[in-house]
Symmetry: C2
């Protein structure tokens, strides 16, 4: 793997010298899957239009870094998310095997476009809260769940794998606190419809470690296995890695993260701040948990994208390693 | 308590709406002591000279926020740390009861100055590594430990309480990895000499949660109780709160933190980045752990100081709450 480092970057031997000491814990998983969302969740809210070739390069670099799944784009309406209007071109640039590049699809129209672009893996999303569904999708919560289930079933019948995202699992900017069972029932509906995994998102980043443990226990209480769940944290209030730690202890083995921490400005008080893949990797490295992912290569890919976006990476690791 | 909020700050009811849901965990402590280090550890490396009155106001605000211990300053040589050359004036402005305002003292000369300023509580420090002792103090590790023990014993005989800091516990920028037993033996020497508590510092911020658990177990293995220990994390690689989580689970009940995350620039790859008190409080609030500290008041105090220093706070919570 030939990795181009950002200008002035710490030499490789110095990086190795700095890496955390490994102290494996017998009560944690041996292996974890990092589900990379930088190219989709990270870029979707960016105002600066990123060239399609830069997106493809970013995804290819992340695959080269060893990430097993790199979500590629979203077939939402270009009116809503102009940044991802080039979804078909991104997939064309990545093909022909798109099995490790899921695409987000909001509705049946998006599914048609995804199928026409040879997508092999989908993700659908739904909010755990009424207000968010109404504001974001202009539907009731039940209508939004039904729409996601319809897409899931149609995609499954075409032989595609489908992942579900549930947003606002730990708090809602309008409703405040969100009941555990309200979330786990949405998860169960997605799993029952054929989603192989549901990713529980702390979209506004307010949740803490005890909440993670409680929410996972509630999912187990209604018959959901932890290997059907992933966790998706935002570092808005600095809680993401403590929450991952709680998730690992509960037995979760899949975590979403965004290379370079891409996904909004860390200095804005908004629902932004994806957990940086680099920061997650630092912790997993220290815990002796295998991911198959090369930290330096992710850092390099993330640094190239944040440089293109014209701002420093919010990743603490990227900041510490970049002189 | 009359708290002056930073300009344009979120209204109080909105802050309350945003606070994390409380999910207490039966395996965690009910109460935790936050040992506030912003005025000393936070400011010591600042190049911009902070007026003495602003330091005193900062400390008084932090006491008003409910912090039980606010380390005030350091009687190091003004040649080494010009920022803290006003140590005597800071104490004079805080007196007469200085029991909740420990001062850092590097040697017998510093102890004399601290005693002349009516200090009631001291902190001494020593590195866990040879190279850091030689570079920072121009002594061997054994000489540095002996010097700290000499100060500790002299201060104890004057009736002062003494806390010990051990730095480089999780890694050293020159030596790389640091053996657990090397750290715990330094801690034991400080406790045997009369320190009521030893704070284990991850000065370069590289450690991860499993390392925390292992280091605490090693301290217990040589007869140190966890209530004799505190943990002092830097967020350089984003690990601070995950490490606090591991410390809480082991049973530690005292954590160092710095209001506003003061203690160096988050965009510099140096041994900086104190855990922000605000970020720690967010997690402890969500875990239902009592601290007696008001988040809004700490945020206000930290915001005033970071505004004076002319840069945004590296605290994620402060960033998220400040529009």
């Amino acid at each position: 793997m030939n990795v181009e480092l950002p200008p002035g970057v710490t030499a490789e031997d110095e990086l190795r010298q700095r890496l955390p000491a490994v102290h494996a814990q017998s009560d944690l998983p041996d292996k974890v899957t990092i589900y990379e969302v930088g190219a989709r969740d990270g870029l979707q809210a960016e105002k600066l239009s990123v060239p399609t070739t830069a997106k493809i390069d970013f995804i290819v670099d992340l695959v080269g870094a060893g990430l097993p799944v790199v979500e590629a784009t979203s077939f939402v309406s270009p009116k809503w998310v102009p940044q991802l209007a080039d979804a078909a071109d991104v997939l064309a640039g990545l093909g022909p095997d798109l099995s490790r590049h899921p695409v987000l699809v909001p509705n049946m129209r998006g599914l048609e476009r995804a199928l026409a672009s040879n997508a092999a893996a989908l993700a659908v999303f739904v909010s755990a809260t009424e207000t968010f569904a109404r504001r974001n999708l202009n539907m009731s919560l039940l209508q939004a769940v039904d729409a996601a289930l319809e897409v899931t079933e149609a995609a499954r019948s075409e032989g595609l794998s489908v992942r579900g995202y549930v947003s606002m699992c730990f708090g809602d900017p309008w409703e405040g606190q969100v009941k555990l069972r309200q979330v786990s029932e949405v998860s169960k509906a997605l799993i029952d419809a054929g989603c192989y995994q549901v990713s529980l998102g702390d979209t506004i980043g307010v949740g803490t470690a005890g909440h993670v443990a409680a929410l996972l226990r509630d999912h187990e209480a209604i018959g959901i296995d932890l290997d059907q769940l992933a966790l998706h944290f935002h570092d808005t209030y600095g809680q993401a890695l403590a929450n991952v730690h709680a998730g690992l202890q509960a037995g979760v083995t899949c975590f979403d993260a965004s290379a370079g921490g891409i996904g909004g400005c860390p200095f804005a008080g908004t629902a932004t701040g994806n957990l940086a893949t680099e920061d997650l990797l630092w912790m997993l490295t220290g815990l002796g948990i295998e991911t198959g992912v090369d930290l330096k290569a992710v850092w390099s890919a993330g640094s190239k994208m944040t440089a293109l976006l014209g701002r420093p990476s919010p990743s603490r690791v990227a900041q510490a390693l970049t002189p």
